[in-house]
Symmetry: C2
Subunit: 331 residues, 2 copies
DNA sequence: GACGCCGGTGCAACCGGTTGCACTGTGCGA
DNA sequence: TCGCACAGTGCAACCGGTTGCACCGGCGTC
């Protein structure tokens, strides 16, 4: 079915090497030979088999894109950016959905079987040992949206979640809120822990009254359920939600309880996903610079193709407040 | 770096064939040999190279998952289901983002270079010739969410968009709406054309007054912009929107104009994406049976692995109304 | 005119597997 | 006891490419 090197060589009247070199950038072929080969290839509809060549070159240009987050709408933006950025660099994303997989070893085995050149783990909720498993298997790996660390085990590209927590607390203080709450995502996620830690720390420093609780997941339903519980008791004046989708759930709960945002309760999210800007939501939030993070992640994995032993580093991008309609104006 | 067959064979004291057969289900190996091989493999951390074996078997278990739709939140659900369904069957999705690609030939070349066993084109807005290009290149292909046809050029799995249009019209009529409108997605998309055709046809049959217009894209912003325009003139009593995300944009526009849904204007969407069920949206919509469509798409592509010449067929799944809060009760 | 250099080419080995075929040894029935 | 079937094994060729090396011819230089 598929046309091979050999057939092209025969038709062009040259050796297989000549054909191979014609399709290898930088190889030495005369203009005459190249012309003959290209003509024959065009007639036959030949295109080189990338997998066969990977056998000798050791490069597949396949990158494992691993995530467990297929329910948070921001991940559609994440996948869009990753696939485009990878494609621009001639790399191909092999998508791995970890939703019902807890065992890192299985993913490692699968991605090794496919000789991926590298792996990008895109998740803020996966435990760090997941990425480490790839490194131990000798596969270049970067953990996007991973936990900040001064001496990381693997390359990490992301944000400083502790600092985001502080930033949220400062912002709420500026708006004159005195009793505030943190409505976090899953308690075991490092991102939740860090955001909480920064928030609590800064509240203490500034002198805000601060409570906290957790939703089961980074999801609308979980955010809504938790906020329904909170408003039924004695809610804080404002909440820092662990994530935008959680915020939107919370927003829904607050309005359903007959309260108004930001008049009765203020809300600040994190991520700045597209939906946060929708006019019927208009969420004030902390913007995570997605495309920078993703661009840097791909850059890093590309670097590692040539320097697999590159010492792990953690690159952190600054976040900023995006002002919309869910916090009252500075007092 | 990677452990090979040969090393395992040496360590186990057997031939390379024996090792190969140990890892080939159904091959004939004695228990004794198998044990030796498995021990050696475990010690060395061997896992077979799927790409190398694909050279002789002709199977990579790679499936190209091609889409141009990375902005409609329903596609996160689509990708989630596709990746999980493929993984369950031992297949690996190679994700291709067509967002800035208009030339089918490029995608064909790329996916041929990677010897994918098959391709799934997941899009309701891509022209049909896109999927046809894969078939012509000899790659098994199914077009998910493609256009219904009695004699399709490629395998199509999806819904009957014309019938959805009729269903929307009938539903609006039942609720006593007399002047209705179709707010479609991009005019050139076949899904838009078909939904419109069915809607207009049924309106005429029933005797509803019917107008229509189009948004630039299946997006919140486009739906909102178009509905803002409509409410500024003399809006219909109810609208059938080409898609849920468009409906949510329209909903936002209607409320911003100071009108109420469903009291002043009724709205029905299409898809039933997760967000449509969020309590702060609560969109009445036509449910597209996503997981059935995706399950059937994967089944079909799997069938074609063994029967590439399977005559193209079109499988259509029934849609149903999901009643929520954006249409008034039956009169 | 002899020499050396060098771009261009083909041969053959190799990448990591699979598989048809021939051969061996074992167990069973006659 | 012999013959036979058959499971188990290894050899070697092959899948579709790449690449080190040897070789060839043409050119510029002395």
């Amino acid at each position: 079915m598929a046309v091979t090197l050999r057939e092209v060589a025969q038709r062009a009247g040259v050796s297989r090497s000549a054909v191979s070199r014609t399709f290898t950038p930088g190889a030495s072929v005369s203009a005459r030979t190249r012309a003959k080969v290209e003509e024959a290839a065009a007639e036959l509809g030949y295109s080189p088999n990338a997998l066969a060549s990977s056998l000798t070159t050791g490069r597949t240009k396949l990158i494992g894109l691993v995530s467990n987050n297929f329910h948070n709408p921001i991940f559609l933006e994440v996948f869009d950016l990753f696939t485009r950025t990878l494609q621009e660099r001639g790399l191909k994303p092999l998508l791995v959905n970890l939703t019902d997989e807890t065992e890192a070893a299985n993913s490692v085995r699968m991605l090794r079987a496919y000789s991926v050149d590298g792996v990008i783990v895109a998740s803020s909720t996966l435990p760090p040992n997941f990425a480490v498993a790839f490194r131990e298997a000798g596969i270049p790996v970067v953990h996007s949206f991973g936990r900040r660390s001064d001496a990381p085990d693997v390359h990490v590209i992301g944000i400083d979640n502790v600092e985001c927590g502080r930033m949220a607390a400062r912002t709420l203080a500026e708006r004159g809120y005195r009793t505030v709450g943190f409505l976090g995502g899953p308690e075991e996620a490092t991102s939740t822990q860090d955001r909480l830690a920064g928030f609590v720390e800064e509240c203490a420093r500034i002198g805000l009254n601060c409570t906290h609780s957790f939703a089961d997941a980074y999801s609308f339903a979980a955010g809504r359920a938790e906020m329904l519980r909170l408003v039924a008791e004695s809610p804080a004046e404002a909440y820092f939600c662990g994530d935008d989708v959680l915020s939107i759930g919370a927003l829904s709960a607050i309005r359903e309880a007959g309260l108004r945002v930001p008049d009765n309760i203020g809300l600040i999210g994190l991520n700045d996903m597209e939906m946060a800007g929708w006019e019927n939501i208009s969420l004030t939030t902390i913007k995570q610079p997605l495309s920078e993070i993703i661009g840097a992640s791909v850059d890093r994995v590309v670097q590692m193709l040539d320097a697999p032993a590159l010492p792990p580093r953690c690159d952190i991008f600054r976040c900023e407040i995006v002002e919309r309609g869910t916090l009252r104006a500075p007092s």
